[in-house]
């Protein structure tokens, strides 16, 4: 099933120019340059945020609910890892080296880069039609029946037909929309709600979450949700053909011309 509007362009291009000497792959691009560049910047930042986030958690692997929490109060839960601070009773007989300094620097720098990259992506997605054509459910899937059929068709770990390499299917679109418009905003919000300076200007951002420690705990869970997305995403790429899909996200070239 080819995409309606946006697939038409590469389809026409491949149909019209295949007789000439221009190779198909040189004309059709699976992912636009902007999507490819923002995808890999986001990937890089995400790993930086994940690693530094884990390092910061290791300095206090206990989570709380409400405004305050420390080693003298009861945690909501603990993560059974050693800590980089002697202050935290972990049951391990050793203390990890302190990595918080550079971790915090890199965490915020990556956050800035990924937020600016995300804004560029969202703005361009609005203006180029990427959002309408590639991310919102395709026209046939917008009815209740079509929606249910598309979900049913994509349940189970079947290798998708090559024709689908030229568009996102419905569960894929929903997952991307959820990540872009729910998880990313939430992880930014819960992150900023931990900043004493930010909440001095915008106290409702932390009050709505139930307190500063609640914000920290929620930040942790939203990050876990993003990691879960990453695992499923990479798993699906493997299922669909790791090299062809990864190459499409690097060079823009797909294994097969569109419409085949």
């Amino acid at each position: 099933m080819a995409r309606t509007e946006s697939a038409a362009a590469p389809l026409a291009a491949s149909g019209q120019t295949s007789a000439s000497s221009v190779p198909v792959a040189a004309v059709a691009s699976r992912h636009s340059l902007l999507v490819r560049v923002t995808h890999w910047i986001t990937t890089l930042c995400f790993f930086a945020l994940l690693i530094t986030g884990a390092e910061i958690v290791a300095s206090h692997p206990r989570f709380y609910w409400g405004e305050t929490g420390n080693v003298l109060t009861t945690p909501l839960f603990k993560i059974p890892i050693p800590s980089s601070r002697a202050l935290v009773p972990t049951g391990y007989g050793y203390v990890l080296p302190d990595q918080n300094g550079w971790s915090r620097y890199l965490h915020f720098q990556s956050a800035w880069i990924v937020i600016l990259t995300g804004l560029l992506y969202i703005l361009s997605a609005f203006f180029t039609g990427h959002l309408r054509d590639d991310l919102l459910p395709a026209k046939p899937d917008r009815s209740l029946r079509g929606f249910a059929a598309a979900i049913a068709a994509h349940s189970g770990f079947k290798r998708p037909p090559e024709a689908e390499a030229w568009s996102y299917n419905l569960p894929q679109r929903l997952a991307y929309l959820f990540v872009i418009f729910v998880l990313f905003p939430l992880v930014i919000w819960t992150g900023l709600a931990m900043s004493p300076s930010f909440v001095s200007a915008f106290p409702f951002t932390v009050n709505l979450l139930g307190g500063q420690q609640s914000a920290r705990t929620l930040h942790f869970f939203v990050s876990l949700a993003l990691v879960l997305f990453l695992l499923v995403h990479v798993g699906m790429v493997f299922l669909a053909g790791f090299w062809s899909r990864t190459r499409a996200m690097i060079s823009g070239r797909a294994a097969t011309p569109p419409g085949n």
Binding site: S29, V71, N100, F108, Q109, A111, S200, V206
Partner: protein, 252 residues
């Protein structure tokens, strides 16, 4: 593959030039309005400058959240402190009667205050949170003299840009910009939860900067200097924290 038409090339070139020029102008403006932190060099300078500049722009007059008395933590956690110097122990043995806070630098009337003298300034209290960069926190009532009252008494010269503050533990010093120094919640804190400030929480004197993380609220303060040239202190990064790998600005 995207094809490069001449039009695309020209618009891309123009956009890149405008972007570079914009960054240049932004850097100039940031410098002019004091939005560049002392530790802006190095590979994390971009993130640090964005943190400080953006937060400074929206928080010049904002107040740290204050809490109800019922929200005060039952046990205010006294974080681990390194072994204190003998000079501290001698003063402690005498109940800190001889503790002095010296204020010098770009002031009209350099002075030295005892704790009772600091207590003679209008006393204020705030119920605010101490948040450690590690992730833990507690709420306490902090009692002290707002720093701006004390600065008024010594007469800050108009070109002062930073207040540098030193602990009796010589490894420990920091600085804040004038927006934080003159902020109504920045206290020279000598009391906590109705009593004297315990040594574990920074007694006899701690500078509380409640809009930043706990490590900015340096304990055992005995010296303040006003300066317009932060580069003169330590390695020129604004505080001992960047020398240990931690950001000078701790609003986040």
């Amino acid at each position: 593959m995207s094809r490069f038409s001449r039009r695309k090339l020209i618009t891309t070139g123009l956009a890149a030039t405008a972007g570079a020029a914009g960054l240049g102008v932004a850097a100039r403006l940031a410098q002019k309005y004091g939005l560049v932190p002392p530790d802006h060099g190095g590979i994390f300078g971009l993130g640090e400058t964005l943190n400080y500049a953006s937060q400074r722009l929206v928080t010049v007059h904002s107040l740290a959240r204050e809490f109800r008395p019922s929200q005060i933590s039952k046990r205010p956690l006294a974080n681990e402190i390194p072994p204190l110097p003998d000079a501290f122990k001698r003063l402690q043995a005498e109940g800190f009667a001889d503790w002095r806070l010296t204020i010098d630098g770009l002031v009209d009337r350099p002075a030295s205050f005892s704790i009772p003298q600091l207590k003679s300034f209008p006393s204020r209290s705030q119920i605010t949170m101490v948040q450690c960069e590690e992730g833990w926190s507690y709420i306490a009532e902090w009692i002290g003299a707002p720093l701006h009252h004390v600065l008024d008494a010594v007469g800050v010269q108009p070109h002062a840009k930073y207040v540098v503050y030193f602990s009796i533990d010589s490894n420990w010093w920091d600085s804040i910009d004038m927006a934080d120094a003159l902020h109504p919640q920045t206290f020279l804190t000598y009391g906590m939860n109705g009593g004297d400030l315990p040594v574990g929480n920074g007694g006899p004197l701690r500078l509380r900067v409640p809009r930043q993380l706990g490590y900015k609220s340096v304990k055992f303060i005995n010296h303040l200097t006003l300066t317009d040239d932060i580069k003169r202190f330590g390695k020129g990064l604004g505080s001992a924290s960047p020398e240990g790998g931690y950001a000078w600005y701790a609003g986040i």
